[in-house]
């Protein structure tokens, strides 16, 4: 009969999971999105774009700027400029003031409960009430720092500079008063999310693609390979393709369309565009265009699965004979896409197939070459193990056929080796791979001994992060 009762909470299965949650927060900042949430959960609670709005008020010299964060604030309005606090080429923080603000927004405003006004200010406490008022004051002072109760785990790109890391711990400790802090590398976290301590992590993100070898939960620095071949680069390819398309396609983001009427495929659009009484900033338009391109990538673009390259004779004809996909632009014009949708993504694998854009790529920047370079930079004894534990993560890796192509390329490069890709089917797991790994890490009982505590920070200064988070 007792078996029908739920497990008593005192008997936690320590041996299975080893979790011991200390209400830690996890923050994973990327160029496109910033993800934050509580350790131990499987998706980040708060995902906001790393793009933020900066609203200008006043004119000329006296102009002041107010930042607004979050998707819901990025709407057409006067004097709104869209900025990003990360650097496009490196995916590391560029604008620390904005970074602090946006992180505070996501960590404190979105994840922390609304704090009551401190008793010293709410006017309810009579100063004549002696003893207890003081106690309350002390409490208030302790609580002044917004994250005094939550250890914070942050992720960073593996090539992050020492200075940026020190800055990160400074913000966490000084501004937010975290009791403990840790800085972890994105690929390490992605490997943890896949349940692997040693892996070759292929992270195809928004701004960058990186390949990194992980050994026992630490990155092998020599193996780090990075290239701009990511989501934004793919957008460039699509723009270039639309540019040369017949008929040429004008990019009209959704916010500009007031209404539209259906038209036949290939016919010019019949839509009424919205008029705004103010000027739309170029950056906002670019941001909105990027959203349209994202939709196109999600629904139309596909990766040639192989075997061989897409440009090999015969492949294109084969694709042309296959059914294509229709995509309707926000203004109602639509078209069937056949071979082009394979062509735009081929540049990731074959630099000769890349369409001419502003930032063309070299041979060493294609994904197979990145992998080859990364593998060659590690000890030969590790290579078989790495090839057997390849973790694919990052939102752009969700392109249709990406995994198949990757597998084919690897098989061609390393015949006779056992190659195993770990590419989760769940889109959230792919998009938030690094965050999930950080969430796992920060909720582990064995991780408690790793945290850089406040006292250690105070004793050693910000340099401790270099010493500890290797």
């Amino acid at each position: 009969m007792s078996s029908q009762q739920p497990l008593p909470n005192t008997q936690q299965p320590l041996d299975v999971y080893g979790g011991d949650e200390v209400s830690a927060l996890v923050l994973d900042a990327g160029y496109c999105h910033t993800r934050a949430g509580f350790a131990g959960e499987d998706v980040p609670k708060s995902v906001i774009p790393s793009f933020y709005g900066s609203i200008k008020s006043g004119d000329g010299e006296a102009a002041t700027y107010r930042e607004v964060f979050g998707d819901e604030c990025l709407i057409p309005r006067a004097d709104l400029e869209i900025k990003n606090y990360m650097s496009r080429s490196e995916s590391v923080v560029e604008d620390w003031d904005a970074a602090t603000k946006i992180w505070e927004h996501t960590l404190i405003k979105r994840l922390q409960p609304e704090k009551p006004t401190p008793p010293s200010k709410n006017g309810l406490n009579d100063p004549t009430e002696d003893g207890e008022g003081d106690v309350a004051m002390e409490d208030a002072e302790e609580q002044e720092k917004p994250l005094a109760e939550n250890p914070l785990l942050m992720t960073e790109a593996p090539w992050n500079s020492g200075k940026a890391r020190e800055k990160a711990i400074e913000i966490a400790m000084e501004n937010w008063g975290c009791p403990a802090f840790w800085l972890s590398r994105t690929p390490v976290c992605a490997a943890f999310a896949a349940g692997k301590a040693s892996a070759l992590v292929i992270d195809v993100g928004g701004a960058n693609t990186s390949v990194t070898a992980i050994h026992d939960g630490m990155i092998l620095k020599r193996s780090i390979q990075k290239s701009p071949v990511g989501g934004l680069w793919l957008s460039q390819q699509i723009r270039s393709m639309w540019e040369s398309n017949d008929p040429k396609i004008d990019i009209v983001p959704s916010f500009m369309v007031e209404n539209k009427t259906p038209v036949d495929a290939g016919a010019p659009a019949q839509a009424k565009l919205r008029k705004f009484p103010f000027e739309i900033h170029q950056s906002f338009r670019a941001y909105e265009e990027e959203r349209l391109l994202t939709e196109y990538k999600e629904s139309v673009v596909e990766v040639w699965r192989g075997p061989g390259r897409y440009l090999n004779p015969g492949n294109e004809d084969l694709v042309r004979s296959q059914p294509g996909r229709v995509f309707e632009m926000p203004n109602g014009s639509n078209q069937m896409w056949r071979e082009q949708r394979f062509r735009v993504s081929e540049g990731m694998w074959d630099e000769t197939a890349a369409l001419p854009t502003a930032d063309s790529i070299a041979k060493g920047q294609t994904i197979p070459e990145l992998i080859k370079a990364a593998i060659n930079a590690v000890d030969v004894d590790l290579r078989p193990n790495l090839l057997g534990n390849i973790v694919v993560t990052g939102g752009t890796s969700l392109l249709n056929g990406f995994g198949d192509r990757l597998n084919n390329e690897l098989m061609a490069m390393y015949p006779g080796m056992k190659i195993k890709l770990h590419a989760p089917g769940l889109t959230t797991e792919r998009r938030f791979g690094a965050w999930i790994g950080g969430s796992i890490l920060a909720s582990l009982g064995t991780f408690h001994q790793m945290w850089i505590s406040r006292k250690e920070y105070e004793e050693n200064g910000a340099g401790i992060v270099e010493k500890r988070c290797k």
Binding site: G18, V22, P179, P384, P415, G416, R454
Partner: protein, 615 residues
């Protein structure tokens, strides 16, 4: 558990009487089953059937177990694995009972009953997983006395060990992060501006690119030495010794090679990989066939094998003898398994294929071999067992001592166990072995060896003849022997050259003024005695050598070369060479013939000396 909780809620003592009885009632199958239920229950007999869920109890129970929600608290804890103990993280834990009660009281009174803080914070249950790798430490003195290396400075060694500690000996990581920048000399740092930059760049050695093998080799070298320093090899435990051996024998070169091969294997093309797979299959097949063939051959050998009996079989010719034979056979059959003997014999006599020459007078080989063994044991005539005699005795030994402890290499080293093919009877002194080498040589040889030893400052009698020393001494003596041989050869060849030169001169002399042959002969015969004697001796020595060579004996009889060391043998050689000369006179002018003859003559002398040796 429900009752427990209810009691808990009502603050009743734990051993309330009425509850357990009720609980028992639910557990015991109800005795008064009716109708079909009873029939079904009876089907099980002694083992009651575990069906018939009593649905009625569910509902009741669920309501019965309703209790107030458990109290949870955010409890701080420490982690003893941390280097700083100040960090107290907090996690949610269920409140224990007394705490809950204290809470109740506090809530109820709300007075000055200040909450007692637990003095000792609970330690994290995960602290025990914090294990650290043991990295050897060394002091400056130890480094200077044991660990110095030309290739590694102390600073770099320190750096390596620090990394090893940081990364818990994960070599790929150590290699990955290894970036040693040699420090500038202190004298340089306070140098004077622009001037100092030049020497700096000149002095600072470029940081060497260390391979993983370099790092490992250095680490293992230091670690093994430190292990040996802390605990001499003899006293190490099994595991320690094994570790020490592994570390001391690390070979970076073979490791590098292995990696090269591995890299090659990784970069195979698909065809190569396929081909290799095919080859492997082929090899496996061939090996399997080989195995089968060997098996068959062994069986054949076993069948053909029969023991060479050196016993007098007359013992068994009488009727009583036959009786004992039969008895032995029976015993053997009873005690031994045929198969094991077959195997043992097969393994021990791989080369005994020749008995096919003899008619198989004992068709069934194995029992007979047993008999012979038994009979040897029985007769115990004290006859020395030949190698063939010893062979079949092995299985018996195995049977007698089935589990002799096999000593490991380390234990053998500790106990000084060594293996010999055959031991001389009785104890001997080690230095006698050395003496034996010396005494077996001729006197002159002996003298020369001692001279050489004196040159090398080595006493001919060893002070401390340990095993290792004696072995080395033996080696030394052997090499001295070789050295002396070489010297002798050298002298011989020189002497020959001289002789040939002399002859050439002679011939030229003979050719220049045309004289009758007789005179030339006479001249030659006169010449030979007059050459200053060393020639002749050399000649004799050469001949003796020739003999030696043919006998392929060690340099035993070669004392006759040097005149100063000449004993009686030297004299005899002298005499013989004189004789030789006389003969030369009588026979032919060509020296080669003369040589041959003298060789034959001298062989007699060397025979003599050989005889002397034997004495």
């Amino acid at each position: 558990m429900a009752s427990h909780d209810v009691r808990d809620v009502l603050n009743l003592p734990l051993d309330a009487g009425s509850r357990p009885a009720k609980k028992q009632k639910t557990n015991v199958p109800r005795p008064s089953l009716k109708g079909l239920a009873r029939e079904v229950q009876n089907l099980g007999g002694d083992n009651p059937i575990a069906i018939v869920p009593e649905l009625a109890t569910f509902k009741k129970r669920r309501f019965g177990s309703r209790k107030p929600a458990a109290r949870w608290e955010l409890r701080p804890f420490r982690n003893s694995a941390r280097s700083d103990q100040s960090l107290h993280l907090r996690h949610w834990r269920k409140q224990t009972e007394d705490q809950a009660r204290a809470q109740d009281e506090k809530d109820g009174q709300n007075g000055d009953n200040v909450e007692k803080k637990p003095e000792e914070l609970e330690d994290s249950g995960f602290a025990k997983f914090n294990v650290q790798v043991d990295i050897p430490q060394y002091s400056d003195d130890q480094y200077n006395s044991n660990l110095k290396s030309d290739d590694w400075t102390k600073e770099e060694t320190d750096y390596l060990f620090e990394l090893a500690r940081d990364f818990d000996l994960r070599w790929p990581l150590i290699w990955d992060r290894y970036d040693y920048q040699p420090k500038l000399d202190e004298g340089m740092t306070n140098g004077e501006g622009a001037d100092s930059t030049d020497p700096k760049t000149a002095v600072v050695p470029a940081s060497k690119g260390r391979t993983l093998e370099d790092l490992k080799a250095r680490y293992y070298e230091v670690a093994a030495k430190m292990m040996a320093v802390q605990k001499p090899v003899q006293y190490m435990t099994q595991a320690e010794f094994a570790l020490h051996e592994v570390m001391a024998n690390f070979n970076p070169v073979s490791e590098t090679k292995r990696k090269m091969f591995a890299a090659d294997a990784l970069s195979r093309s698909r065809d190569e990989a396929q081909e290799e797979e095919l080859l492997l299959v082929e090899v496996r097949r061939i090996l399997a066939r080989q195995e089968k063939l060997n098996q068959e051959r062994r069986e054949l050998y076993n069948r053909l094998d029969y023991p060479h009996t050196e016993q007098d079989i007359n013992v068994f010719k009488s009727s009583t003898g036959l009786q004992t034979l039969l008895q032995n056979l029976m015993n053997v059959d009873k005690t031994k398994k045929r198969k094991s003997i077959m195997e043992a014999n097969g393994a021990n006599t791989p080369a005994s294929a020749h008995p096919s020459a003899h008619p198989p007078n004992h068709p069934n080989s194995t029992p007979v071999s047993e008999t012979r063994r038994e009979s040897i044991a029985a007769s115990s005539t004290g006859r020395r067992d030949s190698a063939a005699g010893e062979r079949p005795e092995r299985p018996a030994k195995k049977g007698a001592q089935p589990e002799r402890k096999k000593l490991t290499e380390q234990e053998e080293q500790i106990y000084g166990v060594s293996h010999h093919d055959r031991l001389p009877s009785g104890p001997t002194f080690r230095y006698e072995r050395i003496n034996k080498i010396l005494t077996t040589k001729s006197n002159a040889q002996h003298q020369r060896i001692t001279n050489t030893l004196a040159e090398l400052d080595i006493p001919s009698r060893l002070n401390m003849p340990t095993k290792a020393v004696v072995e080395e001494m033996e080696k030394l003596l052997n090499s001295i022997g070789v050295l002396l041989d070489m010297r002798k050869m050298n002298d011989k060849i020189e002497a020959e050259i001289r002789l040939e030169k002399a002859k050439k001169a002679e011939r030229e002399k003979a050719l220049a003024p045309p004289q009758p042959e007789d005179e030339a002969k006479a001249g030659e015969s006169e010449e030979t005695p007059t050459t200053n004697g060393e020639d002749k001796k050399g000649d004799a020595g050469v001949n003796g050598d020739a003999v030696d060579k043919t006998n392929s004996e060690a340099p035993a009889t070669n004392g006759e070369r040097n005149g100063d060391a000449a004993g009686e043998s030297g004299q005899s050689a002298n005499a013989e060479s004189a004789e030789n000369g006389a003969e030369d006179k009588g026979v032919q002018p060509e020296s080669s013939n003369g040589h041959k003859r003298s060789a034959s003559v001298l062989s007699a002398s060397s025979d003599k000396s050989a005889k002397r040796q034997k004495k």
